[in-house]
Symmetry: C2
């Protein structure tokens, strides 16, 4: 670690713990939650690595997290940011094999929105040289979520429903579904995205802002019989979509883009139609899935990015020292990932 | 069938199909849904048996059914009533072994609220001589539901929650739970039933009509960590109870005593806490459980009734020809089963 600086620029959390609110992954002003700081460069302990940042991605989970609405508590004064790509520049005992490697990572020790991030070695994936830094920045959270959730869908039949389908994750799932011979049914808000979604693999697209989207979905549901609803929105329309699905349907919520509290209007469907409502969290999947299965999925993800079946659409680049001023506006574009650069 | 009459007295359905409503298992006047009639005695086809009624029980599912709010459509002009006890007086091909036997049954061909009922041989359970006709009338729906649902609870830990616990089914589940070494947590409406529930096996009792039942339940939940909620009510309080349960909790709805539509106030719990919401329907359990497992459960049920660990508390007897006039009032007592007699 001879040539490493003592301190680094970072965008840090202003608050501790949970907020108790549930207002969704939207911010008007990053300064409400984050501030810039010069803080010590962390030192890797046993099993840990220090990563010099190349790129970091901004996921909805990052925004939930800085607002105190995520599944783990904030720590005031520590850098934000879960996911990125960079070079391992220092290692603790047992992690030496990663020294010098370019990796995709999820930060578990000190966040990704900083010049240097700290994490466990097992939270790093060495990147093939044919994966770009942009794809490397979004190699874990969305792609593994897509792989795991489409596998849930495949276990139940050949059609499934994806809400907020224009999201990066939505597009990944539509493409993966198509490649596996499944029939993704995409829910989108804007009619002008219908052709885009079809080109990404959607068999059918329902525009939720048009007249009577539930009736339109019901007709599609009767034809395709989707059994799994991969839902990032979790509002009343989601509940109506679930009610229009056939016997045995599973409503799998993995996000809460809406802050509406959906009512269960047809409890009898849970009883008589063997339906159920559940959640998906990648962290839980990682803790409960055998390592060899995770490695198989990681290899498949890299292969898909390397040969171009998947790619990360970048909507904006925001330098680290512009997060406070520019992030909220950059996130308002809904057609790709915001990438943070040092 | 030489000594069988040509026609019989029956209480028949006035309507066909589903009503589309969801108003719960309560009626003001049985005449709104049922009428008396003299109809032909049915003839058993292959695999069927004709049963001369001794006793029939009235379950919430019967009331849901006559109102068109159950998981199968009504058939106008056919007798109501799912469950009863009687003597097999005629058999179709392949069902001869049951001739002359006293059986508990679920009616699948012609309902139980009639002098004679028709069903499939496999919907009959020959009764041990030490089982009373009253216990025989309520030998299948509630006891098998209790056995199957407490088994779900046991698969997840040693404590579970039961709502509407003063119901016959609630008491069966508390007693069974205690006998298996589990900790049933009972939810009741009336403070005067607390000691009754404890004597039936409840480890803790929460009175939902007292101040802040959710806080009281939360304290109990923190101590016992129940993972399964066996819920007959399915209202907003149920949702709050579910939210106060620990990681991995399952809200298993098997009834809809309330017509409130519960809001999901903490969708994030499904995502981050691995919770889920599902239903239980005995019919589904019977279709998906291997016959040898069902036979084991049936034998255990009869043993429990024979040795007095379980008994059917009868709140009223209503003769067949008084159902129209007396059933609604008889059902207003909440401390036992209404038994119908020929």
């Amino acid at each position: 670690m001879t040539d490493l600086p003592k301190s680094m620029f970072a965008t840090i959390q202003k608050f501790d713990g949970y907020s108790g609110s549930a207002t969704g992954p939207v911010i008007d002003n990053a300064a409400d939650w984050l501030e810039n700081a010069e803080i010590p460069v962390p030192t890797p302990g046993p099993g840990q690595v220090l990563i010099k940042l190349r790129t970091a991605s901004v996921n909805p989970s990052d925004i939930h997290f800085i607002k105190g609405e995520y599944g783990q508590p904030r720590v005031q004064g520590t850098p934000a940011g879960f996911e990125g790509c960079g070079d391992v520049v220092a290692t603790g005992a047992g992690a030496e094999a990663l020294q010098g490697q370019r990796v995709a990572f999820v930060a578990s020790g000190s966040g990704a929105w900083a010049e240097y991030a700290l994490t466990q070695a097992q939270m790093c994936i060495p990147l093939r040289p044919d994966i770009s830094d942009d794809d490397g920045a979004a190699q874990i959270v969305n792609p593994l979520t897509a792989m795991a959730m489409v596998e849930i869908a495949r276990s139940e039949g050949d059609a499934f429903v994806v809400s907020a389908a224009t999201s990066q994750l939505g597009k990944l799932m539509c493409g993966l579904g198509r490649d596996l011979g499944l029939k993704p049914i995409a829910m989108v808000r804007r009619a002008e995205t219908v052709e885009l979604l079809k080109s990404h693999g959607a068999a059918e697209v329902v525009v939720t802002t048009e007249d009577d989207p539930v009736a339109k979905f019901a007709a599609i549901s009767a034809q395709y019989k989707p059994r799994v609803f991969l839902d990032a929105v979790s509002d009343q329309l989601s509940e109506q979509v679930f009610c229009a699905m056939p016997n045995g349907a599973r409503w799998v919520s993995y996000g809460k883009l809406s802050n509406e509290q959906p009512k269960l209007t047809q409890m009898g469907q849970l009883i008589f139609m063997n339906k159920r409502i559940e959640g998906f969290w990648l962290t839980q999947w990682m803790m409960s899935t055998p390592p060899e299965e995770q490695m198989r999925v990681v290899a498949e993800v890299q292969a898909r990015f390397a040969d171009g079946r998947w790619k990360t659409d970048v909507s904006a680049y925001v330098p680290l020292n512009k997060i406070i001023s520019d992030l909220a506006d950059a996130l308002k574009k809904s057609d790709g990932k915001v990438i943070i650069t040092p």
